[in-house]
Symmetry: D2
Subunit: 358 residues, 4 copies
């Protein structure tokens, strides 16, 4: 769609029409009371809107369509009623009726630690084990994860993570921070995680996409939803649609002290479910940065319809090497999971009663 | 607390100390490896931190304490366990275990309309009736509410609202937009609402505070939580602590199109509950601006622990004079209320089981 | 313009068309490859877009036009070349080639103080004297300005301000915080200021608009430019177009400590000049909250094309009762004004050389 | 610094003190009227504040010091008077009195194109040639730069860029998007650019840091200044302090349409100059996304004290393959550079007159 200035001349309008036709589309000119609007009939993706935007007399030039057709619910054959498409990991289904819980320490610290926590989170009801090996950190002076050492050390830590998962029947997920780590991590992990800070790393997205394994893909804290979904097409374009989206908070706004590390954009859950058929999870640990908010934010996420949660849990948060403030104990994790299941059950019962479509 | 520059001189430190003592406090000087920090012993509220911040050698000067002591949970004698303090409206208790639902049209449009909707929302399970008479609107060319006409018209509309409420056993709440409307509105409404756009209007806050009626006080979309709580002290300072806080979304951030009108800051619910003893409600209608998100955001708010919801409902949203996009039907309202009650019940059961303190 | 869902039925399209025609406009239907777009021919202001947005099959319904026609450059007969329209205050022209400087203390504190500062800022090169009498403050426990006392005290302070201005040939501006203060302030001030926190107060805007005096109208820190310009129509709709706009910073975004109180949105200056014919000034004092940034931000604002600056200056910032951190000394003010004039001179010379239209 | 809850017990305070001593620091306890604050004497970097934050009775635990000591002005021996430290590229000095202009097309499109533009920007007064080869793009369906093809094509494009620069006496800068491209790009470019989207890519930062070449390092649009400076330590920690910082806009906030692609945070220029000794440039092209704002934003940036500008220029913007809306013509570039030089000259003259230290 092209919107013209109020004082655009006929000549300027004609030029736009001629150029549109040059791209193989048909232009439909609507002369309004003040402005002329030019609609496009044909495949809008062929049109360089940037080019049209700088033509004389043009006020605005933009696509009417969404820029994420590959993963779009509207362009798929799925119904509007939030019909489910699930991502399968082992026997698990992410995106089905039952919420899925990913839990584990922020970082893998030792063999003993990951085995102990794996056992505990399994007992608490978690389905998937997480544990960071390549840690993105704000300060170069902080612990960067066991992957920061030699190749052997990274591999050893990955092996502990996988072995701990296998022992307790938990698939494992870990973050891959850069292209050079993809092959290695893909050997060990059941799900490859792309962290928020790497959301825009198109080379990494494409490479992970090509591995054909499920991808847990987090939203960047500075990204709008449209941008997030557009970037996920870098994975989908490789033929991999086993993408698990994850909301983990956006940058806080406003003066004065911030009570949470980020703002959990809870409405992103139903919005993304309406826009795409991909499952969307929530990470309350990073979103808030506060262990005392995990319970309420987990309940809220499940009540909003999230397909699951990713929660940081540690046997002894006060001794964790990273992010002690946002890790909870296995006992607390059990309370969270129990409450979420109970809420989901209540919600499913209500949804089954529902006839309208609010 | 005063933090000095790394190269602050002894003379500069001495001056700060002397000035602090001049205000009747004691200064405690801590010489760190790089910086000197000066702690204050005594009543920090006596100290003009702005003044200290511009003294030579000073890097930062700030209160250690919170600026909202009157409404603070920490400064009250309440326990940390989110012990309840309730606001009573008629026989209703806002802030107790059961969530309270406020519903009604965005604007009162006619006598018939408000009576019809009152009956419908009552039947759907609502406890309090809302309806705008003085509408804040973005455009001077839009319908401004029946209160925009003569004094008589405003009074007539207020009378309809109250009568509709009385008939169906619903206390009523309506917004008071300016100081000149307070006396009038207070004659008719059971709860006085201060809208988000007026959050900073200290004269209005003080005047409403003096009326001694419960106040529904909404957070501004550009306000941080600290600022919001500080401004609520303008009401509390008048001796009125029957303040019902309400989260209704903050300004969206990020490039590209916005899928919701505002960002619902769901974590504000537990954060405010930990900071104050006041009840906090959520308004999903304004927060999202989308009727198709009301159900999920209402469920999320209750699951996060909100004391209730304020929802816009209309017999026929497509015919509403304002905000058609964010009003739901009475049938849809019933579904929302039923689901919220069911979630709350599940949550209460889980909380009773909980022993830890996540 | 109405954009339909990809799977909208012909019946749904027909209904939209019929309804549009019912409002006296003509609908122009464009069937694209995926979507149907319906253009409107006629006066879009007659169309309730909210209503259309909730009709079945409709994806998006929005005005193509801008919502601030009264103050729009495009809808006026002015040329695109930023042709000037000026606001006259006494012999001063705001919006002409020479930048105008408003300076004075944050708050009027005493007769002696305001006379002393008036003399100093005049000497430094300022054109207009500012001084707050009704101060908006974040904390109920802070000094609220001399206007917070009795009517007599407010009047006395206003009289000092005007007298100080008259003595040194400076028109005066002061903030009016609520409707009940408008008549009083209009008796004394040459320009009525509406502060950022009151940007949305439509009753105040209308009342100030009716006074027929120039209005200095600040942008709220949570307001987008479109919203800001739309609200200024509340003043313009009263027949008063002597509106001086003022950018004073928007809410900061991002984690971690904020180095400035707000974010100075410097691009708002040229954007607003292109959208409207009203002059736009900048307030670097509130935007940054830091006296050590006033010089550079003032230079930047003038270089960006601002019509002037509003700067807080105090004889002795460290003794100011409010906002000591953001007030500069008269000597520093002189340096700022000299530098700004010098930059403006350089810019005018370059603009005169310019032939293109970057 | 550790701040305790108002009701912290003596036992809880003692535990904190004991643990601090365990890390080899000394604790200094200040008992205030309400709270106890514990200051740390010794090297704060040894303290795991996350750990202390979750101890019982602790309200807040944070470093008093800045997290970017390597690049800090305060920790260097430089004076407060913004004493200059320059980055040298060939005979050029970035960070000295004269502003430096980087210009060129968004993307290298062909040999002919880059030679032609190189000649034109040289003539317009630019000092350094830019041109993207590996383009980060929002959509997988857009042109990704000539580097997206084979290794040979990437190398050929890099060779054109360097050759065009050499022919017209312009050092060249181009973006390196991922670790696998660093070696290749470093062979051809005089300055390695890390784009905004890669700001958080610590592996890339470290690798680029090790190359020992000057780095142009852009701020991410979601990053606070503290975070930006902290991440730049990943480069500095490799022993490379030839870092040129660059502000290019942060995410917009607020409802309604956005008139610029990002918000140019102009105050970041003086703030960063006060915090670090590194030069800071501004990129008005990406910050605004609008060619008609480049002139005013460039002038503002230089007036704010920026060490230079990075501007996208193209012989024929309407034919550019990417970002046509933000590229200006060589003639317009000349106007921008002339105006900036003129403003800088005026500013230097004024600064030389200045005696105070606003």
């Amino acid at each position: 769609m092209i919107i013209m200035d109020t004082d655009a001349t006929q000549q300027q309008i004609d030029r736009v029409v001629t150029e549109i036709e040059g791209y193989g589309l048909r232009a439909s000119v609507i002369k309004g009371a003040y402005r002329t609007v030019i609609g496009l009939v044909g495949d809008e993706e062929k049109i360089p809107f940037d080019h049209f935007a700088v033509l004389p007399g043009v006020k605005e030039a933009r696509m009417v369509d969404i820029p994420y057709k590959l993963i779009s619910r509207e362009y798929s054959k799925l119904s509007r009623e939030l019909e489910k498409m699930v991502v399968k990991v082992g026997g698990l289904e992410i995106g089905a009726e039952e919420p899925v819980f990913i839990a584990g320490p922020c970082a893998v610290e030792s063999k003993e630690q990951i085995f102990k926590i794996a056992e505990q989170v399994k007992k608490a009801g978690a389905h998937i084990l997480r544990g960071g090996i390549f840690k993105p950190r704000s300060s170069v002076h902080s612990f960067q994860g066991l992957g920061a050492g030699s190749q052997e050390e990274a591999e050893e830590a990955l092996d502990w993570l996988r072995a701990a998962g296998r022992k307790f029947g938990l698939p494992v997920v870990t973050e891959v921070r850069g292209e050079t780590q993809v092959d290695l991590v893909a050997e060990y992990a059941d799900i490859l995680q792309i962290g928020a800070r790497n959301m825009y790393d198109q080379d990494l997205l494409a490479q992970v996409g090509r591995k054909g394994k499920p991808v847990l893909y987090k939203r960047h804290f500075g990204a709008g939803i449209e941008e997030y979904l557009s970037f996920s097409e870098y994975i989908a374009a490789e033929g991999n649609k086993d993408i698990i989206l994850c909301e983990r908070g956006i940058v806080p706004v406003g003066k004065g002290r911030s009570y949470t590390r980020y703002i959990l954009d809870i409405a992103a859950v139903p919005v993304i479910q309406k826009e795409t058929y991909l499952p969307i999870m929530v990470d309350p640990s990073h979103a808030t940065g506060r262990r005392d908010l995990i319970f309420s934010m987990s309940c809220a996420a499940i009540a909003a319809g999230a397909s699951g949660l990713m929660i940081e849990a540690h046997s002894n948060p006060a001794e964790a090497l990273v992010d002690a403030q946002q890790q909870i104990t296995p006992d607390e994790l059990k309370e969270v999971i129990d409450a979420c299941r109970s809420i989901n059950k209540a919600l499913v019962a209500e949804r089954n009663k529902k006839v309208g479509s609010v």
